[in-house]
Symmetry: C2
């Protein structure tokens, strides 16, 4: 019988934080952003520093957040999760009842992994992948003409696309220029058609990713691509590779060149460091950089077990987010990377965060009494400055901002224009925005007045590399898990999406049927001009 | 002296709507989604239908919204805007004091355009463009080797990128396959480097877009690209084309092959149908499809002058949004196109909406007493279903959803899998989600219970074509303008972004200076490891 975990609402520190929130520190006051604040409000984690002078916190608030973390055993729960506790459950009701072990995929550098069995699974799949990748290089695996594969199309949706794609885009500067990767995700037939127009199928590996082996979109797109292969006179079983659960309908050596396994203790949105991301990354980056990526992720997992919140980067980020969301009332979080390569990373976080923590029921099966997961969105800076930042500075919706920056660019192609490089301009803008949001500016012209007290953090690393990308990914995974613990919700199921799936089959059958009368589906289809 | 416009707060209908909101219609009640509701709650506009059975409205609410529209003279203001009224102003304070005439760019089909002078400007630039495009085709404009141009790189940021890019992506199925378009926007040096790695500069036109001719990012990226051209032994003045204000620093025939003009009566975020979008679209789609695109936009502008809100698609969409935002308390709007081709359209709306309506001051210079522009975000379905829809169904944040769908796909490459085509699956999912959000489902397992009463609209057209894309663009432009009128704000300035620009120059100068002590910039740069 697992022990009872508390939500923050049951903590003594919760009341204290409520009191403190009514007099939260005023960032617009003279001297508020003083030298000592910049010095003290930095948390150094693996590869990243978290700078938080522009949060409305002081030492009292940080003390209360530490108490909250202690009372809720946040770190203890994280340790238990990594060790294989059954965390994916709702007390007294049927639920998935699973371990949560995405961290095991990268716990391959320690002599004493937190969950040995799962890490052994990961090592076995990585071993298979290393051999497979070298067989692609040496031509053991090739097309019917004996040519090597130069492209890979990953077919998958949700966690089988968003995380892997955002990491691929982030690390394109490091990919083999002779190899290209494409993604097909949407059941929209224009998505697959647009990709199939671009690739040379004869030299393309098709990587089909679905844990269950039955995901509607993935299954449909795979069939479409298999027909396209056959129409080109190609043998799908020479081109198709599967990432799926052992003994799923897709685990079939007759139909796939090779199967890599994913396990039920890893949720889709947390699966980027499993074979779901690793096969494609191994193909494009090579095995060694893939391992560096995993190493970055592993370092952050270890750092997340530090009890002092001021030395635990993911936990501190989680608690500052909680402060903004539950105590200062901000309903959305904007993730704004000052790095064009991270342009899809906010979309990955949208899934990882909102699917994990967009819940209304506690693990105890009681209804939550607090707001849970926020809406997460974002675009790269400086682009966003010319788009939605107007609202961040002067709108009536208050948004909690998370900036991400890198001291050096990836490609080292830069030049000085009017006395500064583009990278300097980029970073100057990032920090300037953080200060502008915080301090605001009094102006006698009311339309030019900025109230300030709009909060942000800055995550800063040296450079966006495979290793720092791994750290950034697991930093956010841990942040999301910690916030779920705070609200005492199950961050690992997604029961809310079942109803839509169920109703769509009803709509499909009414669409195909002659009969229209008397059903909601028929009425709606008729109104939409689809019957 | 312009007349005094009301905000909705000054309207009698406002109080009525407040009362009605406390007993807003319950979509989960038995029979709530009845046949007559599906029939009545459809608004047919040009190319698009707006289906709104899944809004928490009834005839009383719609009546009060009509009164609101009448009391605030919303349509009258729109008519005046199109006719050239000076709408970009704040009473009694220095402001831009400009007309707002983006609609004039497509008012080229009427014998009596609403603003003749501006439409004549637009026609003149279109005439120049038609000639320029044919000169590109016939080789009058070519590179030094006499070869035609096969690629175009558009350098621009904000409105000079987001709208044009989202439209280009939406209409890729219609573009000339022998011509490619790329965009450089971010001052991040990795953005330009990644694009320059991909293009053959010798056969590339560089289209530089900046109204002022001084936008930091655009200016910097242009210099970077000019150096790259020179390093390849190419003459920039043969490759570079400008879209800029007449007599801006960029209006220089010695440095550009050709200049196209944009005018100060068109804001960046509303400029997609001006030369800002037209040159690139003309290059990739051809002149005739460009005109179809403009025609779709023009049709929607005319429809927006209809006084009956139930027959005015953009106005109805605006008022339903207002109802959800100001009366039912939803702080964010998710725009969810069931079309992969529209994958960047939500990012365009993020700018167009949030930069326009993220304001706190009325046109009268008084502070607003209502929440103004919401946070706008979104990703294509069905992808989103596997990402953030969990929160839409079961989260504690309520989100107003705007679905967009098309009866037919663009490319007509489709097949039946398990008895239905991909397009059918796509549309079945769209409508099913709308119903699932509205009705919810009672379940004894609390983690499977969906409360329902989560609202959505469906925008449905036959197919995503140049013409319907034009209509969709101007539909949202008009929606945003109408909401700004409701809040009595100036939707056409962006004073809130000035402070960040100003501070970034301070950060830059501290970055380059040896001196660090005693400034906020110095302290922050040091903390970030940048000094």
């Amino acid at each position: 019988m697992p022990r009872h975990w508390k939500s923050i609402l049951e903590c003594r520190a919760f009341d204290e934080l409520e009191k403190l929130s009514s007099r939260a520190c005023d960032l617009t006051a003279a001297g508020a952003l003083n030298p000592s604040r910049f010095k003290r409000y930095v948390c150094q984690g693996p590869l990243f520093d978290l700078l938080y002078p522009c949060q409305r916190v002081n030492s009292e608030v940080l003390g209360a957040l530490q108490s909250l973390a202690d009372e809720c055993d946040l770190v203890e729960q994280f340790v238990q999760m990594r060790a294989g506790a059954v965390m994916n459950r709702i007390e007294g009701y049927p639920s998935e009842e699973r371990q949560v072990l995405h961290t095991a995929c990268r716990d391959i550098f320690s002599k004493t992994p937190a969950s040995e069995a799962a890490t052994n699974d990961a090592k076995r799949e990585l071993g298979k992948l290393r051999i497979f990748l070298s067989q692609l290089r040496d031509g053991t695996h090739c097309n019917a003409q004996g040519e090597t594969f130069t492209s890979l199309v990953q077919i998958g949706i949700g966690g089988s696309e968003l995380g892997p794609r955002s990491i691929y885009e982030a690390l394109r500067a490091y990919t083999d220029p002779a190899r290209e990767v494409f993604f097909i995700s949407n059941v929209d037939p224009d998505d697959s058609a647009a990709v199939l127009e671009k690739v040379d199928l004869a030299r393309t590996l098709i990587l089909v990713v679905s844990k269950s082996g039955t995901t509607l979109e993935t299954h449909t797109n795979e069939k479409l691509v298999r027909v396209a292969l056959e129409n080109r006179g190609l043998d799908p079983s020479r081109h198709c590779v599967a990432v799926t659960g052992a003994s799923s309908p897709m685990d079939d050596p007759d139909r796939y060149l090779q199967s890599f396994y994913m396990y039920d203790y890893i949720g889709g949105r947390f699966s980027s460091t499993s074979m779901v991301g690793a096969v494609m990354l191994g193909f494009s980056l090579g095995y060694d950089l893939l391992i560096e990526f995993l190493e970055g992720a592993a370092l952050m997992d270890v750092a997340a077990e530090q009890r002092n919140i001021r030395e635990n980067l993911p936990l501190l980020l989680a608690l500052l987010g909680l402060w903004n969301h539950n105590f200062l009332g901000m309903g959305t979080v904007a993730v704004l990377p000052y790095s064009q390569a991270l342009h899809r990373f906010p979309a990955h976080l949208q899934q990882c965060d909102m699917e994990s923590n967009g819940k209304s029921v506690q693990r105890s099966a009681e209804r939550v009494q607090l707001n849970t997961g926020p809406v997460v969105w974002g675009e790269p800076g400086t682009n966003g400055q010319h788009a939605f930042y107007q609202l961040l500075h002067q709108g009536t919706e208050y948004v909690a901002v998370e900036f991400i920056g890198f001291r050096r660019s990836q490609r080292d192609v830069d030049m000085e224009v009017e006395g500064s490089s583009s990278q300097q301009k980029l970073l100057a803008n990032l920090l300037a925005q953080s200060v502008a949001l915080a301090t605001g500016r009094k102006d006698p012209n009311p339309s030019r007045n900025c109230d300030g007290n709009r909060v942000s953090v800055v995550l800063m690393a040296d450079q966006l590399t495979p290793k720092s990308m791994g750290a950034l990914l697991s930093l956010y995974e841990a942040k999301i898990v910690f916030q779920g613990f705070c609200w005492n919700i199950n961050s690992f199921d997604q029961e809310g999406v079942q109803l839509g799936k169920f109703l769509s089959t009803e709509f499909l059958s009414v669409m195909k049927d002659e009969e229209t009368v008397g059903t909601t589906a028929g009425d709606f289809l008729t109104a939409a001009g689809l019957k």
